[in-house]
């Protein structure tokens, strides 16, 4: 550990807060229909899009109608993406956009990939530079990077409208929310970001892969592509699917320590801003500050543990005779799977940033993290990604937890629970409870199925590689992480777990592992859309309620006491659900130091 490492972490938290506050104010204006400084620039385009889409933005939707639009649009996106990926080398694809003539990946891998990008998960069984054409990445994967992020945000906005709604059924208009999110939020930020990234060294071209002749007489082939444009939305939309296989560890996606810091800010800025926007939209900014404080406390706790664990080094390193403390000119620590330019702090922080959100980008190999360092992403996922969380998904999941905390708090003081002046009744609590439990249920069910079946074991890298045949904590961790990550729509991986066998680049002769591909695909779809429906149903149930003024006995939801209660509820739900499974994998590795 070093002073600069801790300084990086502290400054990151400060700069993030400073950026999220004004962005939150701006987003609240966008969603309450106020004029913003971009209105004169994009107003005409917005009206033009409504015309083309045949949408009446004034039409108010109740929660069922809103959900219906969302689901049908998602289905259309799924079908088009499947078609694009399965016709990768069809006649209409220009050579320049598939310079290496890659064939399509098999149906089962494509099913997984399409479900993954649709649901903002960006779980990748494939490796970008050996599987995808430039065209597939652009018109297929990049587009879903935008849309899945947009859909996450609009659900959060709809839920806020339900919470603050004054005796009505409407929770807004899906199409208007989506268009506004993209035009006024994601688009300007992405364009700016992409250009900043190129200025720092991220590549953006359509040339074929390079062949270099090195000074020692070898040849080196180097992958190319339009990376910066996808990188920007990958981070801003908390998507996380890399253009290249090693994601943000690859120097073309994340060339310097500065871009590393910048990329981490991009991941968290929208989820953090939405929390502030929520405070403003409820008319009480302190509501937003309380949730932000809850998230920040849990976030900093996670970073601290990860940094200390990684700086300490791994049992395998020590057994081989390495010393892992800081020496002059070397930061030491567990550098297996980490890049020199990021060091331990830059890798640990990035890891936490992308696993508290649903981003799932990685700048280092999670599988090579130490037991305790690796337990941190597990714990972040076990909290169902409410610590900032994905764009929109984080806030709406957190608001369901707030509802639960208010209910539990109400029980403790013996009063009917009230939240922002609205009485909480059986229906909302049931819906919120189900919405919270869906994700853990999906994750644990799939993990159990995969570890208990021989079909599931085919995916574990350790089975083939280790002497003990994969019956190790590492093998279990790989499996558990795969389904936990997919259920949370995160997308980061203990990358030894695979669902795609590719003997050579370009997909000729490749095949998928159907069990892992389909189970993962359904895991993602179920754990994305079921909570969305529950969140929208809660919005609908709350929207119609009358507001009663707060009385003397009303439990406040905007003070430190409530922050503590909320943290307690989140930790308790996560721990009760996942602790037994966590013990079997990362915790036993972290505590014993035994080699398998």
């Amino acid at each position: 550990m070093s002073l600069t490492g801790w300084l990086t972490i502290v400054l990151f938290a400060v700069i993030l807060t400073a950026l999220a506050l004004p962005l939150g104010r701006y987003m609240a204006k966008v969603y309450t229909g106020e004029r913003v400084f971009l209105t004169p620039l994009f107003g005409w385009l917005e009206r033009f899009l409504y015309k083309v889409l045949r949408v009446d933005p004034q039409r108010e939707q109740d929660w069922k109608s809103y959900a219906k639009s969302l689901l049908i649009f998602s289905l259309a996106g799924w079908l088009l993406l499947y078609l694009i990926l399965r016709t990768q080398n069809a006649f209409y694809v220009p050579h320049a956009l598939n310079p290496l003539g890659y064939h399509s990946a098999p149906w089962n891998v494509t099913f997984n990939t399409v479900s993954s990008f649709m649901t903002n998960t960006n779980w990748q069984y494939y490796s970008g530079e050996t599987t995808m054409s430039y065209l597939s990445q652009m018109i297929g994967l990049t587009v879903q990077n935008w849309l899945s992020a947009g859909i996450g945000i609009v659900v959060a906005v709809a839920l806020i409208r339900g919470i603050v709604g004054r005796s009505g059924k409407s929770i807004g208009n899906f199409w208007q929310d989506l268009v506004r999110t993209i035009l006024y939020g994601l688009a300007p930020l992405s364009v700016l970001t992409a250009i900043v990234l190129v200025s720092q060294g991220v590549i953006q071209n359509f040339s074929t892969y390079l062949t270099a002749h090195t000074l020692t007489g070898l040849t080196q082939s180097i992958a190319m592509g339009p990376i910066a444009s996808q990188e920007a939305i990958k981070l801003l939309g908390t998507n996380g699917g890399g253009f290249l296989n090693t994601n943000s560890a690859h120097p073309f996606e994340n060339p310097t320590a500065f871009t590393n810091f910048f990329e981490m800010l991009l991941v968290l800025v929208i989820p953090a801003a939405l929390v502030f926007a929520y405070g403003r939209m409820t008319g009480n900014r302190r509501q937003g500050y309380a949730i932000f404080a809850t998230m920040m406390v849990m976030f900093l706790g996670a970073v601290t543990v990860a940094y200390i664990a990684e700086a300490h080094g791994s049992p395998a390193q020590h057994a081989a005779g390495l010393h892992t403390h800081v020496i002059a000119g070397s930061g030491g620590g567990n550098m297996e799977g980490k890049e020199q330019r990021f060091g331990i702090a830059g890798s640990a922080l990035f890891d936490v940033v992308t696993t508290v959100t649903s981003c799932g980008a990685v700048n280092s190999a999670l599988e090579s993290f130490t037991g305790i360092g690796g337990a941190v992403p597990f714990a972040n996922l076990s909290a169902s990604e409410v610590i900032f969380g994905g764009v929109g998904t984080g806030l709406y999941s957190m608001l369901l937890y707030v509802l639960l905390a208010v209910f539990i708090g109400g029980l403790m003081v013996g009063r009917t629970p009230e939240w922002l002046g609205k009485k909480l009744e059986a229906r909302e609590i049931k819906l919120a409870g189900l919405g919270i439990l869906i994700t853990p249920l999906a994750a644990l069910f799939c993990t159990a199925l995969a570890t208990a079946s021989s079909a599931g074991r085919k995916s574990i890298a350790e089975v083939a590689l280790s002497k003990s045949g994969g019956n190790t904590p590492q093998g279990f961790s790989e499996t558990f992480y795969a389904y936990l990550s997919q259920a949370n729509n995160n997308g980061s991986a203990f990358a030894g777990y695979t669902g795609f066998i590719q003997p050579s680049a370009g997909n000729v002769g490749s095949h998928g592992i159907t069990f892992a591909d389909l189970l993962g695909g359904f895991d993602m779809l179920f754990a994305r859309y079921a909570p969305i429906l529950f969140a929208l149903a809660v919005a609908g149930a709350l929207a119609g309620k009358r507001v009663t003024p707060a009385g003397l006995g009303t439990m406040r939801t905007d003070n430190p006491t409530f922050v503590v209660l909320l943290i307690g509820v989140i930790v308790l739900v996560g721990a009760l659900t996942f602790f037994p499974a966590l013990l079997l994998g990362p915790i036993v590795q972290g505590l014993t130091g035994h080699l398998y």
Partner: protein, 220 residues
């Protein structure tokens, strides 16, 4: 329902055109005009020939030759040994030989796996064999971690300063340069921390080796 279907179908096509074609093309256009070198991947040419990218690490080894003069191969991969005149990058486990930048990959070596320990021990041994003749007293405990552990991308272009300063003894001896000269070059090609505090300093191996060749009065 029908209205939603119609809007969805139009919507997905319109968004695909705007976000999947117009957006990446605009970014490409701006990048190619404003930052052409970066957008193309910071290619390095020597005498008109592409020798690599500044951002991508390379294998600084030469092919091992069989008795018949052909390069030795194991499973179709050319076997190489470190060229002692050059600084060496970190170990790399990409498929098809080290530093295959057409297929970046994680090594996925677990923290408690015996195969991680074996790989580390092997890399320590190779490092000591190469460097100890020029660094008497060098042992496993003093080998910097980055010289033994594979990186995230397995394409790391940089090594730590400690690693470079150990290798400097060998390179200086092989090239007949003074240690001070080589260390001076290391300092010149060491990147600082991002914005002063973020990340770790690192030495860019390609730039450093190119500078050494230039010093030797090579034609480039």
């Amino acid at each position: 329902m029908r209205r939603d279907i119609l809007t969805s179908l139009i919507g997905i096509v319109v968004f695909t055109i705007l976000l999947g074609l117009v957006y990446p093309l605009v970014i490409t256009g701006v990048s190619q005009v404003a930052f052409p070198g970066n957008a193309d991947g910071q290619r390095v040419y020597v005498k008109g020939q592409l020798v690599g990218s500044k951002l991508i690490g390379q294998n600084w080894g030469t092919p091992v030759l069989e008795k018949n003069g052909k390069p030795k191969e194991v499973k179709g991969v050319i076997v190489t040994e470190a060229d002692p005149r050059y600084f060496q990058t970190r170990p790399s486990a990409t498929e098809g030989g080290a530093y295959n930048a057409a297929a970046s990959t994680f090594s996925n070596r677990g923290p408690n796996s015996t195969r991680t320990e074996e790989a580390d021990a092997e890399n320590i041994k190779a490092y000591l064999e190469l460097e100890r003749p020029y660094n008497p007293g060098l042992n496993a405990a003093s080998v910097p971690v980055d010289a033994v552990n594979t990186s995230g991308s397995n394409l790391d272009p940089e090594i730590s300063e400690a690693n470079a300063h150990i290798q400097a003894h060998r390179v200086a001896a092989k090239r007949g340069l003074s240690l001070a000269t080589v260390n001076g070059l290391i300092g010149k090609y060491t990147s600082g921390r991002g914005v002063g505090f973020s990340g770790e300093p690192g030495v860019n191996v390609l730039e450093l080796n190119l500078a050494l060749d230039r010093l030797a009065g090579g034609a480039h």
